[in-house]
């Protein structure tokens, strides 16, 4: 007997939901039927490739998706770009500006989409924001309180690629290194190459440290895109089936 197309679609199981801290006032967590999947990693770690592959797979298997990422809010994304161009904001200010961008997307995209039963794919989440700030010497407790508004995702994948390889990939793609991704604002070194290596090493160390607290999955980003994708699909499949 031929199986009907309907039976091939996995209807996601509801997950236990919680905010990391105080959360967003007046949100009924039990109404959030969708799933929140986060892909973390440095520029050049393959995040966008992996997200594109996941979208294809999820849609193929009958799931509707929504994508979010840093600096994409209606509220402050343009202003954040301008602020970064001139490097005119100081530490806490820039940090709070990013938090505003995150909160705007959380309330206006992520939570409504989850309520409507979508699979939300986040191209980075609070962990990148926290890691960047911790490397810049900001107080960890302060950051945890600030990002206590965030919803705990159903799965978080950190694509781990060593700084030497990130460097090569960034050159191959853009022929240059990004000012912020090189941590030039911190003043580690006037030499951009040295600064990039030191900065990315520090960020990576911080991610490993945050991993202990937030328990995300570290994925070896040195493998082929297909191999990594197969890995992610397996884990996300388990999440959808309620075995995550």
């Amino acid at each position: 007997m031929k199986r009907s197309a309907k039976n091939l679609i996995v209807v996601p199981r509801r997950s236990e939901r919680r905010f990391y801290g105080h959360g967003i006032p007046k949100v009924e967590l039990e109404t959030l039927a969708g799933k929140l999947i986060v892909v973390e990693g440095a520029d050049g770690s393959g995040r966008s490739t992996q997200i594109a592959l996941l979208v294809e797979w999820l849609e193929d298997t009958g799931h509707a998706t929504v994508q979010v990422g840093l600096k994409r809010s209606t509220l402050v994304s343009e202003e954040l770009d301008r602020a970064q161009e001139g490097n005119i904001l100081s530490r806490s200010t820039l940090s709070l500006f990013y938090a505003t961008d995150f909160a705007d997307q959380l309330e206006n995209i992520i939570l409504p989409a989850l309520k409507a039963g979508f699979i939300v794919l986040a191209d980075r989440y609070i962990y990148t924001l926290m890691a960047r700030d911790i490397v810049r010497g900001m107080d960890e407790e302060w950051l945890k309180n600030l990002y206590g508004i965030a919803l705990e995702p159903d799965a978080v994948f950190y694509l781990n690629v060593p700084p030497e390889e990130l460097m090569q990939r960034n050159f191959a793609k853009n022929l240059s290194l990004d000012y912020w991704e090189s941590g030039m604002d911190i003043g580690l070194s006037r030499d951009m190459f040295d600064s990039f290596m030191q900065y990315q090493t520090a960020v990576q160390k911080t991610f490993k440290y945050l991993q202990r607290e937030f328990g995300f999955t570290i994925v070896d980003g040195m493998r082929s895109a297909d191999a990594i994708s197969a890995d992610l699909r397996k884990k996300i499949g388990a999440v959808l089936a309620g075995r995550g």
């Binding site: 005119i88 904001l89 806490s92 909160a103 600030l146």
Partner: protein
């Protein structure tokens, strides 16, 4: 949280807080005049935020895009900007800095909007507390009347319309201000407010403010170093009568 003095800053920060229409701006203006006419290093923070943060804030307000959380965060961003770019350098340079409103406005406002108090306080934890905070306490009706008499156009967020307290902006504003007052009063002891009865005459209040400032701050430390006035310097320069140097020599 610690005050600027406790954090070792040479400057001192004096803040005024109170509802709209409590007369606090008048009082801090008179305090500023008194201090600067004594020749002290005073800076009145007019809260000029940088263009970029201002642009985002006004966009959010105009288009009514803000939720309690983003309202709180964007104002915290704005405060951090002014704090780090303006206040901290001035406090390190040993100024007497006067602020019309400080973090307590945010504490009261955001909590009234439904943000958790500990979350809001945690966000502002980077900021030092004022060395003196005056709280101008007027009867709710008196301050409401002052505002509603003079400026009948209430803005959306200012009237707390986002809280859906009432569809009438004036009624909404009344309820909102009433809740703000409750929050201020609840903070009064915790943050050591000097409560001034704002129903008194302007002069009576100012007398009390000046008395407290001179008792709690060693004002002599903030005297500007004597410098010859510009006219005297100009005269002295004119007396020297030295011939101008040739260009090449001046450039060496």
């Amino acid at each position: 949280m610690k005050t600027f003095a406790e954090r070792g800053f040479p400057g001192r920060l004096i803040a005024v807080e109170g509802l709209d229409g409590s007369g606090k701006s008048t009082q801090i203006y008179l305090l500023k005049r008194w201090l600067e006419l004594q020749g002290l290093k005073v800076y009145f923070s007019e809260w000029n935020s940088s263009e970029i943060v201002k642009a985002a804030t006004s966009k959010g307000k105009k288009r009514e895009l803000l939720t309690p959380t983003t309202f709180s965060l964007i104002h915290a961003t704005d405060f951090a900007d002014r704090y780090e770019r303006h206040l901290v350098p001035l406090m390190r340079a040993g100024y007497l800095v006067l602020c019309d409103r400080y973090i307590f406005t945010a504490f009261a406002r955001d909590v009234v909007r439904g943000c958790p108090p500990e979350w809001v306080r945690g966000i502002y934890h980077f900021a030092a507390l004022p060395d003196i905070t005056f709280f101008f306490r007027a009867d709710l009706e008196v301050s409401l009347q002052r505002i509603l008499d003079g400026r009948p156009q209430l803005k959306y967020f200012e009237a707390g319309m986002d809280l859906r307290l009432s569809t009438d902006p004036y009624e909404s504003f009344r309820i909102f201000q009433g809740r703000m007052l409750e929050q201020y009063l609840a903070m009064s002891t915790e943050f050591n407010f000097v409560v001034v009865d704002a129903n008194q005459l302007i002069e009576t209040q100012q007398g009390m403010v000046r008395e407290i400032v001179s008792r709690r701050v060693d004002l002599e430390q903030f005297r500007r170093a004597e410098r010859p006035k510009l006219t005297e310097r100009a005269k002295a320069a004119a007396r020297q009568d030295a011939p101008p140097k040739p260009l090449e020599e001046a450039l060496e």
